[in-house]
Symmetry: C2
């Protein structure tokens, strides 16, 4: 399993992903699920992947091949809109899935993969799209300022409580870390390191990027303070009637 | 959908359930999913239900019929152990599901239902069991002091952080309320009123029981203080390096 998310706030985009993949609980490995494609001043794009590792790696390879091929009919640098890139990735994903569909069906395995792509193309607004395994896609919006792929449920409540369009990039990044930390605690198939990227609106440059391991001081202190803060919040909850009488 | 949970701590048991059922989002109704069966001094049992409303109502009806029937081979008052009751309910559930399986399969509907049963029989320890749709069952333990049925993911992180065997009954009850509140916020098919029952170890009596609606003062103040507490915990999280420089 995997958990990736993108948060779209007024000041830009935050991307976060875990790094665990597994083919059954007895084969667990660590892979990055975050890919950055940047042409400074021109366009800056981050891709997150979840689902079949074979499909998502093949899609990333196809993206890279198309970028190297001067005769490619389309590539990440050519699309005019971010949704053109989303549509292109959806197409690559479908093509890859169909190629192995028959063989995978026989072994009852799924080639499905989902993607999130976000970033900015010069002259256009900052955007984020989630691409379904079927190749179609949806964008984040003001009312739903975040997108999730993979194991999304454990980490959703905190996003619902904190994230709004006017949330700062730093708060959105902290919230993404908490959202992934909650998921790591509740689902053993989601694991560290946690990758975090922050794209500042209109920078059209490499997003800020960092990788946090379990022992990274920032991650450890985040975990500790969140745990303590939650316990404090919990201890402040109202008492039942009979507790007040004491 | 539904969300019910039972928490087993040293001092007893806490039960909580939402009250929304739906057969598609265009048919949403309110039903209690918590049933109490008490013979003071002898045994006190709480049953929670999730899944097909038809199956769970039929199981509850069968339980009541067996209790009224002096010739019943088994009923909730006869079992010597709580796991006998769990096994009996699993059997009733399987019987009911099989009766309608063929017809339901044609309309692509599921007769599956899950149950949680918890309480105490005189002379025995306080226990809680979760009964799978297949009729088999597992108990809560010291390492896993809670059981959930239905939409369990959104409400799990807070349980993982707070609940331990030595948690007080009141704290466990507050945690159950928060766990249901988080689920209500993130899944529209889980809804109020919230029912709460607290069984004190060795009381062998009617558990304390209450029903909270959205406007119940205790529920409102719980929501408000939790929200504020979370925001406060969030605002205490560590800063990124560049924020410190400001």
């Amino acid at each position: 399993m995997t958990y990736c998310l993108a948060i779209h706030v007024n000041n830009g985009l935050v991307f976060a992903s875990d790094s665990r993949t597994n083919a059954g609980v007895d084969y667990v490995a660590t892979y990055s699920k975050m890919f950055r494609f940047v042409w400074p001043g021109e366009r800056s794009v981050v891709l997150l992947t979840a689902g079949s590792l074979a499909t998502s790696q093949a899609v990333v390879n196809a993206i890279k091949s198309d970028l190297e091929d001067p005769d490619a009919s389309f590539n990440l640098r050519k699309g005019k809109h971010l949704y053109d890139l989303a549509s292109y990735i959806g197409g690559l994903s479908q093509k890859e899935q169909q190629q192995h569909a028959q063989a995978l069906e026989k072994s009852n395995a799924s080639p499905e993969a989902s993607f999130i792509i976000g970033g900015q193309i010069a002259g256009k607004a900052c955007e984020a799209y989630m691409i379904y395994p079927q190749g179609n896609y949806i964008s984040a919006s003001e009312d739903t300022p975040y997108l999730q792929i993979g194991e999304n449920k454990y980490g959703k409540p905190i996003l619902d409580r904190i994230i709004a369009p006017d949330t700062s990039l730093e708060d959105a990044a902290r919230c993404a870390m908490i959202s992934i930390d909650s998921t790591v605690r509740s689902n053993i198939s989601v694991g560290l390191p946690l990758e975090l990227a922050i794209y500042t609106n209109d920078s059209l440059d490499e997003p800020w990027h960092n990788k946090y391991r379990a022992l990274s001081p920032m991650y450890k202190s985040m975990q500790k303070q969140w745990n303590e803060g939650l316990r404090q919040a919990f201890s402040g909850l109202p008492r039942f009637d009979w507790e007040k009488e004491d």
